[in-house]
Every structure is written in structure tokens, then in C-alpha cells.
């Protein structure tokens, strides 16, 4: 669905996106992670033909962007950075404008507009102009815009921005539902939890470079250690000498091949176990390990001696 080769964007001396090779497959919910300023939005804008790449190529739905924009973009729904609408018009009027721009016939327009408003939970909204909308309502309207043309691919930049927890849940359910119905979702976010709950594949951007691209399942694979929770930590340590890699007053991390055998061994020795589970990598650990410092952090250079 999305494939880039060596995609690069330089603004003067600053390289915003550096040699990006993205691979988003049909049916994915692709979580595009990165700190603020890591180049996510620039990438999204290049995919949509808003920003022109310095070098490299981008293919969306199998066609070269931005050249094939006229054929590609009608099948793509997008929320870029933040929603935007004509402030003096109502949400409905804004959607009608976009329906007309997309070439929708006047007949059936009201039905299409009501349909997307229902989907994002704005079905009962009144005629108030968009400038009187709350942040959450604007976000929902932005999603309605993206869904208007029944896209095969959704490109969403921070779609849950400004929503309360219930709203976030609703949008997540909506995206999951759309994905189940065959829509590929490219979800750019700096919220790890959001991506962890929805994504099937993850790409991590760090200072313009793609440092990781893998399925979520692989990223969250077992670490090979087993987490044991027990009130008898001392007894367990004595029994498993050499295999315990870490412990505190109520639990241990043990490196063993056979978890069932470990369980039998502990119980056999009279060690009481309240919890036993294979330890898994968390997305946070993986992402932080792959990334450098926070993107919006600018440390003072340490002055070198003798210079």
C-alpha cells in the first residue's frame, strides 16, 4: 500500500527525513512512531504530495507519488497534523464542500455526509459554525473528512489528539472496525500505548531515520526469561542458583528453557508461587532502545578541553 525507497527531505542544512524505506502492506494497521520532530509529519506530507521529496521515491497504492496524485488520492483519507475546516461554516456544510470537490453528485450528498457524521459520533450535531466546536469535535470532524470518500487507505496523523478517554476508545473501535472491513490504516503517533493497542506493524522514526520496522508480534516476543512472583524469594534463589538474573523482595526473573519444569521444581521444593509468566518485550523498551534522546531536547554541547 505504501512503499518508499530512500525517501529524503532536506530543508536547507536540516535533514528532516533521511533515506526512509517504508513498507506498509494491505490490511495493516501500521503504527508510525517517533518523538516530536522526528519527521513523521514531513513523511506523511510527502506521501500525500504536499511536500516534495528532495530525493528518493514514494509509492502509494502501487502508484508513484506525487505524480499519480489524481488517481491515488481519491482512494486515500487523510488527517494531516490537525483537522482544519472553514470556521464560518457548519460541520455539515464543510463536509458538503468536500463532497462536491471529490466529485460526489448532489443527489445523495446529504446521505453521505450524515453517514460519516454518524460514524464519528457527530450525527446529532447542530448548525453551529466550526469555530464554535471544541477540540474534540474538530478532531471528529477531521476524521469524518477523511472517511468521506470511503478510502482504501487511511493516513492519520495523531488522530486522537484532544479527545477524552471515551473518545479515544470510540475512535480506536472505529478504526479497528474499518480495518476489519479491509481498510489499511497508517497511524502516525507519538503515543506508544495508542499504537500498541491497535497496530499490527510498527515503524519507528528517530531523527528522520527509520530505526525499526517490524510486526508488533515479533517486537513483543518473549525475552527468554520467566517472571516468578513468590513470597519465598530467598528459598527460590537458593534453589535456582545461577539462573536468577534479577530479583526484589517479592519476585524474580529467571532464565530457563522449560517454564513447566521450573514450575514443577519450585512447587516440589515447597516454594509458594502466586504468579508465573514468560517475560515479554514491551513496545516502550524496544522503541526507547532503538531511539536516541527525546527529539525536542536540545542539550548544550559539552565544551571540549583544549579547544
Amino acid at each position: 500500500m505504501i512503499r518508499t525507497h530512500g525517501l529524503t527531505k532536506r530543508y536547507g542544512a536540516i535533514t528532516a527525513v533521511d533515506q526512509l524505506d517504508l513498507d506498509v502492506r494491505e490490511g495493516d494497521v501500521y503504527g508510525f512512531l517517533g518523538a516530536n520532530g522526528s519527521g513523521k509529519t514531513t513523511t506523511v506530507r510527502m506521501l500525500l504530495g504536499l511536500v516534495l521529496a528532495t530525493s528518493g521515491t514514494a509509492e502509494v497504492l502501487g502508484r508513484a507519488m506525487p505524480r499519480a496524485g489524481r488517481e491515488v488520492l481519491p482512494q486515500v483519507g487523510a488527517l494531516v497534523e490537525s483537522p482544519a475546516a472553514y470556521p464560518r461554516l457548519s460541520g455539515r456544510a464543510n463536509l458538503r464542500v468536500h463532497d462536491a470537490l471529490a466529485g460526489g453528485r448532489r443527489r445523495g450528498r446529504a446521505g453521505r455526509v450524515d453517514d460519516v457524521l454518524d460514524r464519528v459520533g457527530l450525527g446529532g450535531v447542530d448548525q453551529r459554525p466550526v469555530r464554535a466546536y471544541s477540540l474534540g469535535m474538530r478532531q471528529r470532524l477531521g476524521l469524518a473528512h477523511a472517511l468521506l470518500s470511503q478510502p482504501r487507505l487511511l493516513v492519520l496523523d495523531e488522530p486522537t489528539n484532544g479527545l477524552d478517554p471515551q473518545g479515544i476508545r470510540e475512535i480506536r473501535d472505529l478504526l479497528t472496525e474499518l480495518n476489519a472491513a479491509g481498510t489499511t490504516v497508517f497511524l502516525s503517533s507519538h503515543l506508544l500505548a495508542e499504537v500498541e493497542q491497535m497496530a499490527t506493524r510498527v515503524g519507528v522514526l528517530d531523527r528522520g531515520r527509520l530505526v525499526l520496522q517490524e510486526s508488533l508480534e515479533v517486537l513483543k516476543r518473549p525475552t527468554g526469561r520467566t517472571y516468578v512472583r513468590t513470597p519465598d524469594v530467598a528459598a527460590a534463589r537458593a534453589l535456582l542458583d545461577g539462573q536468577v538474573e534479577a530479583y526484589d523482595e517479592a519476585s524474580l526473573l529467571v532464565r530457563v528453557r522449560d517454564v513447566a519444569a521450573l514450575n514443577a521444581q519450585l512447587v516440589g521444593a515447597g516454594v509458594r508461587i502466586s504468579e508465573l509468566a514468560p517475560e515479554k518485550h514491551t513496545l516502550e523498551d524496544v522503541v526507547l532502545a532503538a531511539s536516541s534522546a527525546a527529539g525536542d531536547r536540545f542539550d548544550r554541547d559539552v565544551p571540549r578541553v583544549g579547544s
Binding site: R45, V51, L73, V80, S82, A84, A85, A100
Partner: protein, 272 residues
């Protein structure tokens, strides 16, 4: 063309459009009322064109109204409208959503330009009709079917209508020149105000330089140089020199600035 339909729809539905037109229309109407009440015309050779003539013939007042709004009011409105075209969408954040809908960049630019010109046409129509009505009602008509030219000879009604349309076409072209400059600036800067003010700065500078003898070498190339040349269409015989020069000069401005605006917009990163 969908983008054009949507633009025109928004133009006629926007309250700003009608308020602007109303304000522009107000000035010539005030002038007509003052003329009718006081019956004092400008001394020959001073004041806006045709004003001395309209005291005897109210049907000439649309032309006087044109000469009143063309030097300042209309170009300001055009600079604001065209300056808002791209920069306004960019500032609002709606530009990126138009482009990914998708509306092609060239199409968007054309739709915006046509919409600005539709605004000019609408304004000129409203001004002309109001001025005709006000002129006839307040200032009265002269002998039936005869209109006096600036040169003092008479024109038939047919000649008069033909020349009036020519004058409107010329005014439209001058405003197209202004719109081209503003549209170009609108693709360069991110603020609609900046684009409008930049255009006005060009026009004010041009007007100022025209009064300066030292600027004679460039005066023939200044954008406002031939704006009022449409008056020459009402001389007998028609004084074509300035009209033709003005047409060529405005065409030059349109080609250069629209070309630059288009080239800039096509290759520009939309980062707002």
C-alpha cells in the same frame, strides 16, 4: 470544474463579498447625492473624470462612478480577495485538505483567479447599475438618445453602450493585473494580510512614482500608469494610444505574475 463551482458558490454566499461590494458602492452614491444637492461640479479639468459632465446628464454617472472606484477602492478589494486566495487557505489549514481531496494545484489557482474576477465583475455590475439609477433619479437625463463626449461632440446610444462595454473590459483587465500580483504574493507568503498589503504597497508606490518627474523613465511601465485611460474611449474620435499601451502593459503584468505564482505554487512545499 468542481473547484470553480465550489469557489463561486462560496463567493456569492459569503457575507464579506456583499459587505465589500456595498461599501465600494457607497462612495459614488455619496458623490451623486452631494452633486445633486449642491449642484456644484468640479471646475473643468479637475476632479474625477466625467463629473462635470454628469451634472447635465445623469446617464453618464456609471462612467463617473467607474472613475471614482477604479483608482483606489476596487484595487484594495481585489488585493484583499486575491491575497487571501492561497495564503488564507494556508493559514486556516484548509489548503492541505483541498490538495489531498485532491484538487490539482493548477486548478485551484485558476478557480481562485476566476473567482476574484467574478467578484470584480459583480462589483462593477452593482456599481454601474446603482450609479445609473442614482444618476438618472438625482441628476436627470439630457435630450433623448444623445450623450455628450468628453470632447464635446455627441454620441448615439448604440455608440455609447459599445464604448461603455469597452471601458468595463479595460477596467476588468486592470483589476486582473492587480489580482495577478496579489495571487503571486499569496503563493509566496503565509499570511493573507501580508499578500494584500504587499500588493497595495506596489500600487501606492506606483501611484506615487507617477507624480514624480524624476521617475519618468519608468513611468510607462508602472502598473497604475494607464488605469484611467478608459476615459479616452469617450473622446471623439477615440484616443486609442493609451488604451492600447495600457492593455499591453496589463497583459504583461498578468503573464509575468501569474506565471511566477503558478511556478512557485507548483513547486512549493505545503507545510502549514
Amino acid at each position: 470544474m468542481r473547484a470553480l463551482t465550489v469557489e463561486l458558490h462560496q463567493l456569492v454566499r459569503s457575507r464579506r463579498t456583499w459587505v465589500t461590494i456595498l461599501l465600494i458602492d457607497l462612495l459614488p452614491t455619496i458623490v451623486a447625492v452631494l452633486l445633486a444637492v449642491t449642484d456644484i461640479g468640479p471646475r473643468p479639468g479637475t476632479g474625477p473624470a466625467f463629473l462635470s459632465a454628469v451634472l447635465t446628464d445623469g446617464t453618464l454617472f456609471p462612467l463617473a462612478a467607474l472613475a471614482i472606484v477604479l483608482p483606489l477602492f476596487l484595487p484594495i478589494a481585489v488585493a484583499v480577495q486575491a491575497g487571501d486566495a492561497i495564503a488564507g487557505e494556508a493559514q486556516q489549514g484548509t489548503l492541505r485538505y483541498l490538495l489531498v481531496r485532491p484538487v490539482g494545484r493548477t486548478r485551484l489557482l485558476v478557480a481562485k483567479l476566476v473567482s476574484v474576477m467574478a467578484f470584480v465583475l459583480l462589483t462593477l455590475a452593482v456599481v454601474a447599475v446603482t450609479a445609473y439609477v442614482v444618476g438618472v433619479l438625482l441628476l436627470g437625463t439630457s435630450d433623448a438618445g444623445q450623450t455628450t463626449t468628453v470632447s464635446g461632440t455627441s454620441l448615439t446610444q448604440g455608440q455609447m453602450i459599445g464604448r461603455t462595454f469597452l471601458a468595463l473590459a479595460f477596467a476588468l483587465l486592470c483589476m486582473l493585473g492587480v489580482a495577478s500580483i496579489a495571487l503571486f504574493l499569496s503563493t509566496v507568503v503565509d499570511s493573507p494580510l501580508g499578500a494584500a498589503l504587499g500588493t497595495m504597497a506596489v500600487l501606492v508606490a506606483s501611484t506615487l512614482l507617477l507624480t514624480l518627474d524624476a521617475a519618468d523613465v519608468v513611468s510607462d511601465y508602472l502598473p497604475t500608469r494607464y488605469w484611467l485611460a478608459f476615459i479616452d474611449l469617450f473622446r471623439d474620435p477615440i484616443h486609442w494610444r493609451d488604451v492600447i499601451r495600457g492593455t499591453l502593459l496589463q497583459a504583461g503584468y498578468v503573464v509575468v505574475f501569474l506565471g511566477a505564482g503558478w511556478a512557485n505554487f507548483m513547486t512549493r512545499d505545503v507545510t502549514q
